[in-house]
Structure formats: structure tokens, C-alpha cells
């Protein structure tokens, strides 16, 4: 017989409610906070998928070129992620999907759904290349600044990229500086400075906190192009953006009335 899952199990999905934590962040043998863990977005993070989350009126400071790029993304591009193209940074930090961090002594790995990853060398002496090959995650260099892992990235692609789920744009001039911290055992936090003088009039910030997943939760295989039926049926852009900065129709037309169910005895 069908059994209704109790409400407590609703949360065993991709997001989790925020929690209070009194447990300190773990540390590695070399004394740095250990960022390792399976991290889930909280339901308090609103709007998800929108880089303007922390800005007044959810308004990004677009230049005229940025406005044109946004219009192009909205009206002439299919979401690259839905075509199984890497989301890159900063998009993955705005995503609703969990991620996993594995921290080593000299490298930190971020593992994402879609079986994507970013591998960040942690070496304060390493400098950016003069002309890095454009990539979706950029040329990313890590170093520790006290208890913060700083990831400085340049060298981004400027085609087939959306900077977030809302199709906001970024150019090849994008420079992202992320400061990752683990304020306590149960949280990881990023403060992101996004600077893109081609598309944005000034640098802006994106800050977010995730909560630790339950023991045993981890990234699983996710082959995005295994059976991408959607590919041939997707329209341009993310669809309408609601006043609250999320995507989708304001009101869906109601489904047909539910079929009557017999009561379980």
C-alpha cells in the first residue's frame, strides 16, 4: 500500500533548513580550517540562482554592453547548463544544487552535480598567467588569508556562459575573488567579489552560506548528456523572471483535480 512520507523526510533533498551550530570548524594538520564536506543550500537563500541576491532591488550594475549581453542571453541563447556545458564560476556558487569539497594540503577540489569539478591549487607564490586560456571556471589560484581560503580567478570564456540561472552575463574581463570560510562545523560561507568592467559599472558582492549535509550524503554520478531529451525543446532564456528574482511563471494554471484516494485502513 502507498504510504505517505512524513513531513520530516521532505527535507532529505537537495536543500536543507539552516541550523544553529556550536561546534567549531574542524582543522587540518597544518592548522587551516577544513572546508571538506557535502554542502547544501539553505531555504533561507533567496533568490537562488540570482547573482543580484545581495543588491538593492535585485539590480545588477550593468553597463550598456552588459545590458546588450543580457538581452542577447535572454532572447537568443539556450541555457548552456541545459546543454550540458559547464556552469563555471560564479554560476555554481549561485546554484541550488549541493556540492562537495575535498581539501588537501596544496589543492582543494570542488565536486559538483553533473560530475563537474574545479581543482584549485593552493600556493601563495603562484601568479596568474599573462594570457590564460579562457575557461568556464577561469584560471583559479588559491591561498590562505588567515582562516579564509581565497580563490582568485581570471581568464574566463565569454560565449556559452550565463553568470547565473537568470541568464545574467559576464565577459572575458571577469575577475572573481572568493573568500571561503567555515565559520563553524555546520556551515561553509563564501564572500565573492565580482569585477567585470566590460559588463558591470562597478564590482559587486555575492555572499552565501551552505549547511553541512547528513553523514553519508555525497556527490553521485550525473551524466548530463546521457539522455538530454530537453535539448531539442528548449526555448531561449530562462523564462520570465518574477519580482522576487526567481524564474518561472507567476501562477501556474491548476492541474486537473486529484483523483479520489481511498483511505488506508
Amino acid at each position: 500500500m502507498p504510504a505517505l512520507l512524513p513531513p520530516a523526510t521532505y527535507g532529505q533533498g537537495l536543500t536543507a533548513p539552516d541550523v544553529k551550530s556550536s561546534k567549531p570548524a574542524p582543522r587540518t594538520a597544518d592548522g587551516h580550517p577544513d572546508l571538506s564536506g557535502y554542502w547544501k543550500g539553505t531555504r533561507e537563500t533567496k533568490p537562488v540562482g540570482n547573482l543580484a541576491k545581495d543588491l538593492p532591488g535585485l539590480k545588477l550594475p550593468l553597463t550598456p554592453a552588459g545590458e546588450a549581453a543580457l538581452k542577447h542571453n535572454l532572447t537568443a541563447t539556450i541555457d548552456p547548463e541545459s546543454l550540458c556545458i559547464l556552469g563555471g564560476i560564479p554560476r555554481h556558487n549561485a546554484s541550488g544544487l549541493p556540492f562537495e569539497v575535498l581539501q588537501g594540503a596544496n589543492k582543494v577540489v570542488f565536486l559538483y552535480w553533473y560530475s563537474y569539478f574545479r581543482l584549485i591549487p593552493v600556493d601563495a607564490k603562484r601568479k596568474h598567467s599573462e594570457d590564460p586560456d579562457p575557461s568556464f571556471f577561469g584560471e583559479e589560484l588559491g591561498h590562505w588569508d588567515g582562516d579564509a581560503l581565497v580563490v582568485d580567478s581570471i581568464g574566463f570564456k565569454d560565449t556559452q556562459v550565463w553568470a547565473d540561472e537568470n541568464a545574467d552575463p559576464h565577459s572575458d574581463q571577469l575577475h572573481v575573488v572568493e573568500r571561503w570560510t567555515r565559520p563553524d562545523y555546520d556551515h561553509i560561507r563564501v564572500e565573492t567579489l565580482i569585477d567585470d568592467p566590460k559588463f558591470y559599472t562597478k564590482p559587486f558582492n555575492y555572499t552565501r552560506t551552505w549547511v553541512l549535509g547528513k553523514p553519508g550524503e555525497e556527490i553521485h554520478e550525473y551524466s548530463c548528456s546521457e539522455n538530454n531529451v530537453d535539448r531539442d525543446h528548449l526555448g531561449f532564456g530562462p523564462g520570465p523572471i518574477r519580482p522576487d528574482g526567481t524564474r518561472g511563471f507567476g501562477d501556474l494554471k491548476p492541474l486537473p483535480p486529484p483523483l479520489p484516494q481511498t483511505t488506508k485502513k
Binding site: Y10, H233, G235, G248, P258
Partner: protein, 129 residues
């Protein structure tokens, strides 16, 4: 086999327009003004990424069979929620509620599945954001 009714629209923070979670925007593919109900026979089940598909053969008034692809969450999400691919089998009679594709293809975004009249799944399907 024990079957569970899976309800996770609430867990995704949405009652309607789709999760801010996944592979593509709901509105990029599906029409929120086109709710539909299909009744037919499960002819194929694709337990795949980025989405699962329940293919249902639906007979129209003239007896012509049309196969609809009903897009559900990916296997990882469904499994974590307790829905297993063995919970339905080929030949099962299903009623599926959801929203039709904008482009007129025989595709829908699943919101409810009834097996032999019993509700076995209700949610956004996580297929869209």
C-alpha cells in the same frame, strides 16, 4: 513491492513553478498554462540523467496511440526520495498530471503519477527550475 507516495514539492520550496535546482528552467520548455492529464500504459521507462522519462501510450478518441514522454526528476533525486524504478513496470496503467511542452511535442513535466488509480508520486519532478 511496497510503494510510497512521494511528495517533495514542499521540500523544494515550491508549490508551483518548479525548483530552483536543476538542469533547465521549467519555463524554457514547459507551459504553465497548459496543465494536462494523460491516461495510458507505461511503454518505456528511462532511468537516466539529466531526467527520468516515463513514456506512456495514450489512446485518443479514434483509437490512435500517441506516446508521451513524461519528464520526472533524475534518478538520484527520485531514489533519495524513496521512489524506485521498480515501483512501476511496463504495462502498468498510469494517470499522469503535469504541464505540456511549449513547442507542441508530446512531452510533459510530471507533477503527479497515479498507478492503477493510486497516487504514487506528487511533486515538481525537479526537472525544471
Amino acid at each position: 513491492m511496497k510503494r510510497q507516495l512521494i511528495i517533495f514539492a514542499v521540500s523544494l520550496g515550491l508549490a508551483g513553478a518548479g525548483a530552483a535546482l536543476a538542469h533547465h528552467s521549467f519555463a524554457a520548455e514547459f507551459d504553465g498554462n497548459k496543465p494536462i492529464r494523460l491516461e495510458g500504459t507505461l511503454s518505456k521507462l528511462e532511468w537516466t540523467n539529466p531526467h527520468s522519462y516515463f513514456y506512456v501510450d495514450v489512446k485518443d478518441d479514434k483509437g490512435t496511440v500517441v506516446t508521451w514522454g513524461c519528464e520526472g526528476a533524475n534518478p538520484g533525486v527520485l531514489s533519495r526520495q524513496g521512489f524506485r524504478k521498480g515501483d512501476v513496470k511496463l504495462g502498468d496503467n498510469l494517470v499522469v498530471d503535469g504541464y505540456a511542452a511549449k513547442d507542441g511535442a508530446h512531452l510533459m513535466n510530471v507533477r503527479r503519477i497515479y498507478l492503477n488509480g493510486k497516487l504514487i508520486f506528487e511533486g515538481t519532478g525537479e526537472g525544471a527550475q
